[in-house]
Subunit: 239 residues, 2 copies
Amino acid sequence: MTAEPLNIRSYLEKHYPFWEHLNAQEQELLCSRSLLQSCRKGEFLYSNDDDCLGILLVLKGQLRIFIQSGDTREITLFRVGNGQVCTLSASCIIQEITFDIQIEADEDTELIVTNVSCFRSLMKQNIYVENYIYKETTEHFSDVMWAMNQILFSSFDQRLAGYLLDESIRTHSATLHTTHEQIARNLGSAREVVSRMLKYFEKEGIVSLARGTVTITDEKRLKTCTYGEKRCKCQEKNK
Amino acid sequence: MTAEPLNIRSYLEKHYPFWEHLNAQEQELLCSRSLLQSCRKGEFLYSNDDDCLGILLVLKGQLRIFIQSGDTREITLFRVGNGQVCTLSASCIIQEITFDIQIEADEDTELIVTNVSCFRSLMKQNIYVENYIYKETTEHFSDVMWAMNQILFSSFDQRLAGYLLDESIRTHSATLHTTHEQIARNLGSAREVVSRMLKYFEKEGIVSLARGTVTITDEKRLKTCTYGEKRCKCQEKNK
């Protein structure tokens, strides 16, 4: 955890559109209560038991926002990348939000954490700050609805195909370094279900599997698995 | 559809907290673009194909907000009752919202519909209106997260028990006039699954079934089905 007041000011000014509506004193408060923080891939930033963390601005890397049930089943809600903000990590200052989330660094991540008491006062005294927080939260809402639709309405082969393609784009690689367990966690499914479907994809020549990796060998066919009209064999079989 | 300008003004004044931040002209605009509307139980208010409906203020009755997949499977997101507002019916003016919902009247319902172009201009010129819309939408977000948690993390017997209890409270009656098909739609499940579990509840003496009705005969035991610690037999069996 390093405080670099000068850098921080320029980042806040660049990324928070309400900056221009803050008076000098409010700008000063925001800067003084914001800290640069780094976290390693796989590190947790927030859990139900901790205090309310604060508003997060990601400068580099990516955070994964998810919910977890008692039996450790996880559902990924959305991800927050470069230049994006997470407000759900400060749910204690948004009285309308009555649910808990968890945050994990997907990659080595650098971010600015602004503490909640600062945002609490700014929201109270400046409607532009309050409006910004609710606006960003509404954007998270849309992301969550997208995830929910995927989980509830897509067949599992479509979801798995979509996930593999997304990960391939995100990591700029056809080879994904991941376990079946990790994929299952991200899709809110069981390892056995993921393994079975991956083996089916492998038989069809769509992916190749090795210890700790999944390599996409036929991207075109994988794509036909994900969307409505052109359904691939795997789905027919799986219906 | 009847316009009653005088009544409408007093309702808007009472239920919209941003009213005091509107100038006389803005108040006039809001009143003139708001209409009293009645709809019968079971009537649809909105579908993906229609134009953006507007902001809804429920005066009497209740609306059910849900999403639907291609194959007509439904998921109830939340309900909006007396004095409550629905903003998702005006998603075209909230650019962060990129999903579609459907609305059905759960009961005979009276509401005020304010058209979107009115809210679009008010939001643009008055930050208090914009802030109100995002705040209400954030509240919908919380409701949706609750529904999502129920769907994803509760076992089916817990969800069914919770649903029957909720409906019994909502209708002030131990006898629910509903079909298994309707329950399945509300829980995003299949009729067969609902029928099987209801028959199990019946065998356990928790409910009694007749054509078009489900009657709760042992509310206490039904309650033990819904919550974590005290698990009823049905769940043990169903695990």
